[in-house]
Assembly symmetry: C2
Homo-oligomer: 192 residues x 2
């Protein structure tokens, strides 16, 4: 079996609801595409936001389109330390009892009561890829990287969807810990 | 066998040679102790430095005493990305062909030609602790952490010295990737 899992390192980013997008950029606003992402239909938008928590601010956070049902800010723990928030590790859209923040665009601002998370490390894949790898949606697997900074990431959540392509997503702390810049390669391992 | 390995997360820090210390703080200068570290004789000094590479600067980096033979700056890859340097992963004092920087104190500055590294993840231990764990100086082992962000760190270098106490050192990227703040617990694992 081919146990290779391509890895992408995700920089901090924001997903916006249509409502929050309109508060920040104006009624009926549509995100402008900067470039397509690996996952079909997903794109990096030209628009960025600043995020502020108390007196701390991180600027120029990329918005990822298209809009979603819920606004969600995905940061690394390094960012969480900087913003002085206890950043919970969550799967996408599981936003109950997560910290809020102020989002600031070039045209406006909005206070979100929740939605700031560290994304649970995960693998996207299609049903066909899942079948080949023995994956079921929602299961946890372990993926090892090679090299000087070799790491095995455990508790990697599998997300199966017909629109997905096989890719593991790490945040920048995880990527840096594995000495991986932007992209890399992992190997599915069996933990005995 | 007790396979527990206590872990400390090391923030960015600087070790100085006596010569560089005197250039930065004055002839015959002695570092002032802020607090003892876990490893015997080592201490965090009251003094800090700024490090500058081209136009990028990181401020208030703690100096660790006592002075050493060679000046060495230990940063995370997050710091390396910020400073726009390709940070090599090195064992302590292996500084050949590593990047330089400008070190700035409240009293002076010095340009170092090399010495900026990302510290190779490692375990300190005494000969007695090494014997219990089956360690030999210089060998590489794997250490697993628990919890949501569970990680196994591979290529962890064992450093045996009569002055050491059993502790694994991670940098802040590695600590953050394992959702570990300052201190934690690892477990020696056997990779088959």
């Amino acid at each position: 079996m081919d146990r290779r899992i391509p890895i992408e390192v995700s920089a901090r980013h924001v997903h916006l609801s249509q409502n929050d997008l309109e508060v920040l950029f104006g009624k009926g606003y549509k995100l402008k595409k900067l470039r397509n992402l690996v996952q079909p239909k997903e794109f990096a938008a030209k628009e960025t936001l600043d995020i502020q928590v108390s007196s701390r601010k991180i600027s120029n956070i990329r918005i990822i389109g298209p809009v979603r049902e819920k606004t969600q800010v995905e940061l690394s723990h390094t960012d969480g330390v900087f913003l002085r928030i206890d950043l919970p590790v969550r799967e996408s859209e599981d936003l109950k009892e997560t910290p809020g923040a102020i989002l600031i665009s070039r045209k406006g601002r909005i206070k979100i009561k929740k939605g700031v998370i560290n994304a649970w490390r995960h693998i996207h894949c299609s049903p066909k890829e899942a079948k080949k790898l023995g994956f079921k949606n929602g299961m946890s697997v372990s993926v090892k990287t090679k090299g000087t900074c070799s790491i095995t990431f455990h508790n990697v959540k599998v997300q199966v969807d017909k629109n997905y392509r096989l890719y593991m997503h790490l945040d920048t702390d995880e990527g840096n810990a594995a000495c991986m810049v932007k992209k890399g390669q992992g190997y599915l391992v069996t933990i005995v």
